[in-house]
């Protein structure tokens, strides 16, 4: 079950919100709208979310959906036309965190003089497509996808880091002392959990690619555009690194002729620029930052806590002599700002909102529920790979429908621990149970092209659970406080 712990509590809470709305005689979406978190407001633990929660915007969109606006007319019409069945529409909205509170990322990204890009990355593939999305991040930032990728890397000789592995319990004093050692980090490698890949692990990928874009691609491109008669095509204008873009045909921007990545790579090696970077990042609901004095680049404050670089083929011998740590120059940070240990108490800052409308009918003779259609709403931020987002969303909804209607295990000795539970009596949703052909979804457009992507693989399964329960209540008038809402429970409710 994805998002364990939260799905149970959120589902029941969302059923109760509908009950409160009914007691107040208020539209259930309007009640949520009045109480939704606005930007900058702290949550129950005092943490303030990263960015705009977008809950109100999502609620406004749901409130205008035909499933919601037409629900009473649709019910009257359906119930009249289908004796023995009762129609219902339900809604729920939640926001779920992504990340663990001790998130890390580690990778190496380099290219040779022919432009062949190699990426060694800590990310593990568990079926969510995380390895695909990391490559797309590089492609978008450098204009070329890696040619060689190694995933599931657990050892980076270029980053000989050490840790006491107590990121959640460390005291501020201990963190201050340990962080003086430039090889120390609060945690080294990430778990593949908590919907953490696209934002948290991808953050490291972005830092590595951005470092090369700003400190290698830009000077190499500038040199190419500045060569030739009269100082080249760049000379008569004003172009800065901020104007640099990935464009069809390579790297361009500022009106310059695009340069294929292979030409950039050749120039970068010739100039002895940084042609490989290894980074490590850490977040405790806030990213660590550190200062690095990088030969040939200068002093930079970066959102990474460890950095190593490789210099191009044309670099002076003095620089090459520094590449003695796994073939890289490990740049000892001169200062580091780790997020306060207190952030362990303040709690989560990264959330993704999701909502769902469910349309169903209840067979009053058998108690069986038929999901007729559902409509999901999600704010995924800037999507990296659309098919992976919708795939997670569709799968999450199916799992949520199972949680709402069929999946059940008894506690204690008769439960799953006795070793006799299997699919013969632990019933999973099949395609006929999840409205495979009639489901729809809408994703909020990102607020800007710089909005980060959001983790979503867990949140997508939660709102459908309570939306299904609320739809059953709309259908037959009874409320349920324990999941799953099985045919037996529905039949019992119908006979009271």
């Amino acid at each position: 079950m994805r998002g364990y712990g939260t799905i149970q509590a959120m589902s029941i809470t969302e059923l109760l919100v509908d009950e409160v709305a009914a007691e107040l005689g208020m539209d259930a979406i309007e009640l949520r709208r009045r109480n939704a978190l606005r930007p900058g407001e702290p949550n129950t633990q005092g943490a303030v979310q990263l960015g705009d929660p977008r809950l109100v915007e999502m609620l406004d969109r749901a409130a205008q959906h035909p499933l919601w606006t037409n629900r009473e007319q649709a019910k009257a019409k359906y119930d009249a036309a289908n004796p023995g069945r009762r129609y219902g529409v339900g809604f729920a909205q939640v926001q779920k965190d992504y990340g663990t509170g001790a998130d890390t990322s580690a990778l190496l990204l380099e290219f040779d003089a022919e432009g062949k890009i190699t990426m060694r990355h800590c990310v593990q593939e568990i079926g969510t497509g995380a390895t695909s999305s990391q490559q797309v991040v590089v492609q978008r930032m450098l204009g070329k996808a890696p040619d060689v990728v190694i995933f599931g890397e657990t050892d980076f000789p270029q980053l000989p880091l050490k840790s006491n592995f107590e990121p959640f319990t460390i005291s501020q004093q201990q963190q201050d002392e340990l962080s003086r050692d430039p090889f120390w980090v609060p945690a080294i490698l990430p778990a593949m959990s908590a919907s953490n890949s696209v934002y948290f692990i991808g953050f490291g990928t972005k830092q590595a690619a951005q470092f090369l874009f700003e400190n290698t691609v830009w000077p190499a491109a500038k040199a190419i555009w500045s060569s030739g008669p009269a100082g080249g095509q760049l000379a008569s204008g004003v172009m800065t690194a901020a104007d640099l873009r990935v464009v069809p045909g390579g790297v361009g921007g500022g009106g310059m002729a695009p340069i294929p990545f292979a030409d950039i790579a050749r120039k970068a090696h010739e100039m002895g620029l940084v042609t490989g970077v290894a980074v490590h990042c850490f977040s405790r609901w806030q990213w660590a930052r550190a200062d690095f004095d990088i030969p040939g680049v200068g002093s930079l404050n970066l959102a990474v806590d460890a950095l190593a670089v490789r210099y191009g083929d044309g670099a002076p011998e003095a620089l090459k002599a520094r590449m003695n740590t796994g073939g890289y120059d490990f740049i000892k940070r001169s200062a580091v700002q780790y997020p306060s240990a207190q952030r362990n108490n303040a709690g989560v800052t990264t959330y993704t909102p999701a909502a769902c409308l469910v349309e169903l009918n209840v067979n009053t003779f058998t108690g069986k529920v038929e999901i007729m259609s559902h409509h999901s709403l999600l704010d995924p931020g800037n999507v990296v790979v659309p098919a992976l987002v919708s795939g997670q969303q569709q799968g999450g909804v199916a799992m949520g429908i199972g949680h709402a209607l069929m999946e059940d295990l008894p506690l204690y000795g008769d439960g799953p621990g006795n070793g006799t539970w299997n699919f013969n009596r632990y019933t999973l949703p099949r395609a006929v149970d999840v409205a495979v052909w009639t489901q729809t979804a809408e994703y909020l457009a990102p607020l800007a092209d710089s909005s980060p992507p959001k983790g979503l693989a867990e949140v997508v399964m939660i709102p459908v659970v309570a939306a299904t329960g609320n739809a059953i209540t709309h259908a037959i008038g009874s409320r349920f406080y324990r999941l799953p809402i099985t045919p037996a429970k529905i039949k019992k409710a119908l006979t009271i």
Partner: protein, 181 residues
């Protein structure tokens, strides 16, 4: 105690296998995994419910049907012809991959699978379904319900089925003779 063995001979992915002495009662999936190193077929529930272990059995008239390998003994397939997921794609004489099957290719293009555990079963079932449409086309209006009927036995825990079903619909619509108006 000795294990009783009986000879087993069959055709798998076009290759004649055996006769080879095989333990009586050995599930077919164990024979595929342990004797032939054909590990693409997945063991799921072991009860014949999830259909992850489905392989293609070619009937004497040439039509393929689904068979589950976790609940059928290896000897159930004695003398038969079967195709596992390893036999779906086109390969050259050295066994190198030449071309994925239309169903496999569609599953990739649609991002149909995630963890991939149920995928060999879905490849098999969808291929058999498309073959059945070639023999007996379906009306366009009935295509979605026919896909659902053909594949509903197969459980997927990751994807919610949508991208599998869309891919199969795509293959049916693109394969001449499968769908009529």
């Amino acid at each position: 105690m000795s294990i009783e063995k009986r000879p087993l001979a069959l055709t798998i992915n076009g290759n004649k296998i055996g006769p080879v002495d095989t333990p009586v009662g050995m599930p077919m999936i164990d024979f595929l995994h342990e004797h032939l190193n054909l590990t693409g077929t997945r063991f799921g529930c072991g009860q014949g419910i999830c259909h992850a272990c489905t392989i293609m059995e070619i009937q004497p008239d040439g039509t393929p049907i689904e068979s589950r390998t976790c609940i059928y003994d290896a000897h159930f397939f004695n003398g038969k012809t079967i195709v596992t997921v390893e036999g779906q794609a086109k390969r050259d004489e050295q066994g190198r991959l030449q071309e994925l099957s239309p169903v496999q290719q569609a599953f990739i293009e649609h991002f149909s699978f995630q963890c991939g555990y149920c995928t060999p079963g879905f490849v098999t079932a969808a291929t058999i379904f498309i073959e059945s449409l070639k023999r007996q086309p379906v009306k366009r209006a009935d295509l979605q319900s026919r896909i659902e009927a053909a594949l509903n036995d197969h459980i997927c825990r990751c994807t919610g089925y949508v991208r599998y079903y869309q891919a199969v619909q795509d293959v049916a619509l693109k394969t001449p003779g499968c769908v009529i108006e």
